[in-house]
């Protein structure tokens, strides 16, 4: 905009030869930059274009590629080297692969569905993958995983020596697609001091999940509020995540044993969701309940049990180890989750090793899986971990591997009572409950089936639907997903 006559032109927009940039805010040498000159001649332009195009691939970022040089490199996905249990076994696997001329490359990190699918779709999958066993059925049905039966036979692996429920979880149409790499049981954990203050003991006779009325009453006694805030959860049923456990305790199941028929709208399932949602409603509703739950310092010294923020709840076995490490002084009680008849129920989950379709080193992958899940490797790793844990005065609470023989040896030879009765009792319970393990059967819809029942729980918790409405909707979604996924299968 031209300045009116008699006025100084505005600083902005004042440009001239050699003054391409606005003045004042740049150093003088920058303000005196000459105007750019066009390059001369087609040759120079062409050369510039070619140089740019040639340089582009050099600056490109890697996509889903797992390894650059695949010839002698054996790659993994979904596995981290978090503790001695991992590092010790990886050392063994490295030694087992060395004679085959393989260099082991661990791509650390949790299993990522997008990364895995992209790698498989691009024809560049890892040689082995570690993932949640509940996902394996879905991938197997689509042909993303290779069956392991032949490989296990060649490696002389007896699957009878592994936890039956874990093997079932990875078996589709009689073919095994994954070998267990962990075995997470669930038991009740209790804040004994909270229970004592309320006039109860810290056992599963006091926190009895088979007595539904009693549990509701106890929950009301243990919960604590301050004004409109919930400051202590009396009993946390841990839904949606442990919903299959409540269904089982109520005599039902989410899926038929063959993994083809969803049973989400069956009466035991509806009852289980109605009851567990009511437990949460009794404590002020999902909003307050989850807000408190989200504020827990779960892995710190000020965790929910140390700060008396929860009375009792079912939890995975690894959390006993976390407590033993971060707050061994916590007043811990433990017990079994029981079904309506008073029998212990153990909902198990965990990860497993599988071989993706397109793996370049299938034989080596078999050797790797055999080594990682072998009794020898597990026991050696558990010994290393136990020494490490004890060296900094924490409590070693055992390891649960999915390998029956390894578990037996670890329990009898590696684990020793720590002198902290609460932790020793919890560990014994965890070993005792292993045999009662059950899991949701393997199914071709995998992730979609799991999401269907979880979303149903969430819709109920958020107050959008009644349990029956939510589960009827979920039944439709789940069955449709199963039918589509099972098309073309026997």
């Amino acid at each position: 905009m031209a300045a009116p006559p008699g006025q100084t032109p505005s600083r902005r927009g004042r440009r001239g030869p050699g003054r391409l940039l606005p003045g004042r805010r740049f150093p003088h040498w920058l303000r005196r930059l000459p105007a750019p000159r066009a390059p001369h001649g087609p040759l120079r332009t062409g050369a510039a274009c070619c140089a740019v195009l040639l340089l582009l691939p050099l600056t490109a970022c890697g996509g889903a590629s797992v390894s650059d040089d695949r010839s002698g490199t054996f790659t993994t996905m979904g596995f981290g080297l978090g503790d001695a249990i991992a590092t010790s076994r990886i050392d063994d696997a490295r030694k087992a692969l060395a004679p085959k001329g393989m260099k082991l490359q661990i791509n650390e990190g949790a299993f990522d569905e997008q990364q895995f699918l992209s790698a498989v779709a691009a024809g560049d999958p890892p040689d082995v993958v570690n993932m949640d066993r509940t996902l394996m059925g879905g991938y197997a049905a689509r042909g993303a995983l290779l069956p392991l039966n032949e490989c296990l036979r060649k490696e002389h692996v007896d699957t009878g020596k592994y936890q039956k429920s874990a093997i079932k979880e990875t078996t589709l149409d009689g073919e095994i697609y994954g070998m267990p790499d962990s075995f997470d049981s669930r038991i009740l954990l209790m804040d004994a001091s909270v229970l004592r203050k309320a006039g109860h003991g810290a056992t599963d006779k006091d926190v009895d999940t088979s007595d539904l009325k009693g549990l509701r009453k106890l929950t009301s006694e243990l919960k604590q509020s301050q004004g409109r805030k919930l400051t202590r959860i009396g009993f946390d049923p841990k839904i949606p995540e442990f919903f299959p456990m409540w269904v089982r305790a109520n005599g039902g199941s989410l899926l038929s044993p063959d993994g083809r028929t969803a049973r989400l709208d069956s009466e035991p399932v509806v009852e289980a969701l109605t009851y567990t949602a009511k437990l949460i409603e009794d404590q002020g509703g999902w909003g307050k309940f989850k807000a408190l739950r989200d504020s827990f310092d779960q892995f710190g010294k000020g965790n929910q049990l140390a700060r008396h923020q929860v009375g009792a709840y079912p939890m995975e076995d690894w959390y006993v180890a976390v407590l033993g490490d971060t707050s061994p002084q916590v007043d811990l009680g433990s017990g079994y989750v029981k079904d309506r008849e008073g029998k212990p129920v153990n909902y198990v989950s965990g990860t497993g090793w599988a071989i993706p379709k397109g793996s370049r080193h299938v034989d080596e992958a078999c050797t790797f899986i055999k080594t990682m899940t072998s009794t020898r490797a597990w026991v050696k790793a558990a010994k290393t971990k136990a020494e490490e844990v004890r060296s900094h005065d924490a409590v070693y609470t055992g390891d649960f591997t999915g390998n029956l023989e390894a578990d037996r040896i670890i329990e009898s030879k590696v684990w020793k009572p720590s002198g902290k009765k609460a932790f020793d009792d919890a560990t014994r319970r965890l070993y005792d409950i292993q045999a009662e393990g059950f899991a949701v059967p393997a199914n071709a819809a995998g992730s979609e089936f799991k999401q269907a029942w979880q979303n149903a729980c969430n819709r109920v918790l958020s107050g959008d639907q009644t349990p029956r409405q939510a589960l009827e909707e979920a039944q439709g979604e789940a069955q449709s997903a199963l039918d589509i996924a099972n098309q073309g299968r026997r």
Partner: protein, 355 residues
């Protein structure tokens, strides 16, 4: 140095608005300036003339240099954007699952879009989020830019300060949302408690999840602030002086001088923020679907369209259907952007434009 005739030609070709209004064939800015690519349906003589002009233009070293510098973007666009777009268009007519060979299913995926209740739900969530977020973020950014304009020598410092949060990874912002908006111990409800307000359950109440996420996204309003600040600094001071002489108050000066003068920047940020909002994914996914804390609890109120698309593609392996979802989103964004562009003709003022 460009010749005067070149300048005249560029001026003529560049006045698309005028050309459109007078009924002549409007060409796009770039095409017009480079002589225009052959247009299908144009008369052969006209096409030949255009081709001749394009060749003449190409013979100029300036044009070649321009294409030389543009080539990385052109290469990137073809390989990383246009290519995948064409691929997804093809895949949207197949049952591709990422593993087996894609098999044609005709219009089945598109038919399914209308039967899938999650599509309507997620689209509605996304539109509501956009309607809440875009005006609010623009208003906040403008207010901050106006403040920055008045802080004098400290402008540089505050400009940096406001821009820093933009560099925070979106995943971290998603986790931050859960911490700040926790109903029990979150900072937001704690502050509200000080003034006697019992804050809502931001992370679990379906009515409050989207407003909470909108407030969280204000965290990265810095880039819009910078754009507005640049625009505000370009408003000629003489206009304010003239307005003052005419007895115009501050508020009126803002409405009748500032806003029209920065309307170009406002329009640009409106388009960019609308597109970004319609593609919202990371914060919602991290807070409600993807992080360790939220893998089992999700809330339908946070099911945005791209989250649904992502789940279909990578969790359920329905890549064919997800491709159809992607194309629907493309069409929705295109329609909204075209409406905004059409409306902009009435509200946006460009200096030097004939009106």
């Amino acid at each position: 140095m460009p010749s005067p005739t070149d300048e005249a030609r560029r001026d003529e070709a560049g006045r698309t608005g005028t050309a459109a209004r007078t009924g002549t064939a409007a060409t796009t800015g770039t095409a017009g300036r480079t002589g225009g690519a052959p247009v299908p349906g144009a008369a052969p003589a006209d096409r030949r003339e255009r081709a001749r002009r394009w060749r003449a233009s190409w013979r100029r070293s300036e044009t070649r240099a321009a294409y030389g510098f543009l080539s990385p973007w052109i290469f990137g666009f073809v390989v990383l954007t246009a290519g995948p777009m064409i691929a997804t268009l093809y895949l949207s007519f197949t049952n591709y699952d990422g593993i087996s060979e894609p098999r044609g299913v005709g219009m089945e995926n598109y038919r399914q879009l209308f039967e899938d209740p999650s599509v309507a739900k997620s689209l509605m969530n996304t539109l509501v989020f956009t309607v809440l977020r875009v005006p609010l973020s623009m208003a906040v950014a403008l207010a901050l830019a106006m403040l920055l304009l008045r802080v004098g020598r400290a402008t540089g410092f505050f400009r940096t300060l406001f821009y820093l949060p933009v560099m925070t990874p979106s995943v971290a912002v998603g986790i931050l949302f859960l911490l700040l908006f926790n109903g029990n111990v979150g900072l937001i409800n704690t502050v509200l408690g000080f003034v006697g307000i019992d804050g809502p359950s931001w992370t679990t109440d379906g009515d409050w999840i989207k407003p909470g996420l909108v407030l969280t996204t204000l965290w990265s309003v810095g880039s819009t602030v910078i754009i507005y600040l640049a625009a505000l600094r370009n408003v000629p001071q003489e206009l304010y002086e003239a307005a003052e002489i005419d007895g115009v108050g501050r508020r009126q000066a803002f409405v009748h001088v500032t806003l029209p003068q920065i309307s170009g920047a406002l329009f640009f940020t409106l388009i960019v923020n609308t597109i970004a909002s319609l593609q919202t994914f990371t914060e919602a996914y991290t807070a409600f679907f993807g992080s360790a804390n939220s893998q089992t609890y999700s809330n339908d109120a946070a099911l945005f369209y791209v989250v649904h698309l992502f789940q279909q593609a990578f969790q359920y392996m329905h890549l064919g259907y997800a491709s159809a979802l992607a194309w629907l989103l493309f069409l929705v964004i295109l329609a909204i952007t075209l409406v905004q562009a059409r409306l902009s003709k009435r509200f946006v003022y460009y200096e030097g434009e004939e009106r």
